[in-house]
Amino acid sequence: MQIAVSGGKGGTGKSTVAINLAVELARRFKLVLADLDVEAPNDHLLLGVELAGEEPVNQFMPKFDYSKCTKCRKCAEVCEEHAIITLKDGTPFLMPNLCSGCRACEIVCPVPGAIQEAFRVIGHTYVTETPYGFTLVTGKLREGEERSMPLVVEAKKRARNLNYELLMVDTAAGTGNTVSKAIEGSRLLIAVTEPTPLGIHDTELILKLGKLMGLKTWVVVNRSDLGDVEKVREITEKYGAEVVAEIPYSENIVRSYVSGRPIVLEDVPEAKIFRELAEKVADFLGGDE
């Protein structure tokens, strides 16, 4: 089974919640945490581990065999990304950065062998054993590449191929289709927010996404003393979700964040909040079976 940690706005503390929950839940489940914030993956830094088990993500791109190409332009016409341009006489050229690797061009090309398979590395996935009893899978988009969707798909695939009872995904900021791809298949969506007007605005978007996807959604209010938690509650209830935890702004959390050691391992009051949240998640998952 799978659960997701997301949040709409950037910097609300998604990764902090994800790694601390992972450390706690790894005591009860054989757990894999997948960092699907492929544009800015940070879970390994927060866990203080070095990424390991690197594998390139190779994306298909067409390579034209000009001796066979009949210059029919079908490849260029079918390319939704406009990654293939043609000269006046119909000779196709690829602009690699725009290519999404979908193979539509290859499918329509009428001449066998005129489009050959080439690949380029658009990023990497990693599988890292953490000292906390769970495995971390990380997707990392290569700088300069535009499309994060293929990386999210590959990293999630790599995670799913591992042996686990509970897969936890940590998503990117935002509410676009790469976030929904990451969340897809979850039994529970945990949205991390902060009680500022900006946080509330963006929480509404992630709640909307959760509702569209038909997911049970919980809200964790981070830095809960920096704003009006009641407003978060109102919006949360409007979408049939519930606020399950409040984490006040804390120097201890900042210190743990910076030092790369999860706070649930420390003997501080904040650790208790994460432990209780983990228990709630475990109860929910257990009771649901």
Binding site: G8, K9, G10, G11, T12, S15, D37, E39, A40, N42, L45, L46, V78, E80, E81, S100, G101, C102, R103, A104, I107, L141, E143, G144, E145, E146, R147, S148, M149, P150, V153, A172, A173, G174, T175, G176, N177, T178, V179, S180, K181, E184, T196, P197, L198, H201, D202, L205, K208, L209, L212, M213, R223, L226, G227, D228, V254, Y257, V258, G260
Partner: protein
């Protein structure tokens, strides 16, 4: 001039700092602001925008649809979808998940029954314009949830902003980009004259700003750095060392200041709400340096 503001990591203060810099720079220059975070747009909120005077729908996304009446359930579309966006529902029908579809049309091309899978235009979101109470215009966007290609919305926003710059004879476009380094950020940084990077002294922020800087280098632009929450983590020197090693000028440091979240709750730039706070004083100095050394 077109100035992009980027950070890689979300939540390090891009929009807060952008709003404050705009507040100072508006007195000296004719500006336009662009909120290029189409998935979580906040700059308009921070500048107190309550109503948008213009709004355009953007029909740019494409999604595949499967006609279950003519579908022969061969499953080829399901196998060939590069993004695993086709699923089988309880009745055994093949269905496109519109919240993850990238609109590549591979399913339509491999389907053996003509007309069964069609690629349809869909709304990707809206682009909006307002005039802020500070006198300068702002362009913002909102991607519909679950839609692809927020980068295209950002490109549209910048085109609209450029048109307004010509019409209103404006001097500078300030683009507040999204978190990350993908299409939205590439669309934000591409075409800019320079990028101001914002980072806080933490390992995560350093890692992400280094990635954003690679995108800036890709476009061969000059970069500058503002260190936010500069006193958050006194032992952490790696951010400043990295900037120095790369030759990225640090144009200022903003201390951690509780006045910032308070000002956010008031939906005002901190420099307006609490002009005497330590963060506001630092931001004023940074605005002066930007005026002197960058905008001229």
């Amino acid at each position: 001039m077109q100035v992009a503001i980027a950070s890689g990591k979300g939540g390090v203060g891009k929009s807060t700092i952008t709003a404050s810099l705009l507040y100072f720079l508006k007195d000296k220059y004719r500006l336009i602001a662009v909120d290029a975070d189409a998935e979580a747009p906040n700059l308009g909120l921070l500048l107190g925008v309550e109503e948008w005077d213009k709004e355009r729908e953007h029909i740019g996304a494409k999604v595949a649809r499967i006609n279950t009446e003519t579908c022969v359930r061969c499953g080829i579309c399901y196998e060939r979808c590069p993004y695993e966006s086709i699923y089988i529902d309880e009745d055994g029908n093949y269905v496109v998940n519109e919240l993850t579809c990238e609109g590549c049309n591979v399913c339509g091309l491999v389907c053996p029954v003509p007309g069964t899978i069609t690629l349809e235009q869909a709304r990707s979101g809206v682009i909006r314009k307002a005039t802020t109470k500070y006198g300068f215009p702002i362009i913002s966007a909102q991607l519909d949830v679950g839609r692809p290609e927020s980068g295209k919305l950002v490109t549209e926003e910048k085109e609209w902003a450029k048109k307004l710059m010509d019409e209103l004879n404006l001097e500078h476009m300030i683009v507040d980009s999204a978190a990350g380094i993908g299409c939205q950020v590439i669309a934000s940084i591409g075409g800019a004259d320079l990028t101001i990077l914002i980072a806080e002294p933490t390992p995560a922020s350093l890692s992400d700003v280094q990635r954003a800087y690679k995108v800036v280098q890709h476009f061969r632009q000059p970069a500058y750095l503002i260190v936010n929450k500069a006193d958050l983590n006194p032992g952490f020197t790696a951010l400043r060392e990295w900037a120095e090693a790369e030759g990225i000028p640090i144009i200022g440091e903003v201390p951690y200041d509780r006045a910032i979240p308070k000002s956010m709750a008031m939906l005002k730039p901190v420099v307006e709400a609490f002009p005497d706070s330590p963060a506001s004083k630092a931001l004023k100095e940074i605005a002066e340096r930007i005026a002197e050394e960058i905008l001229g």
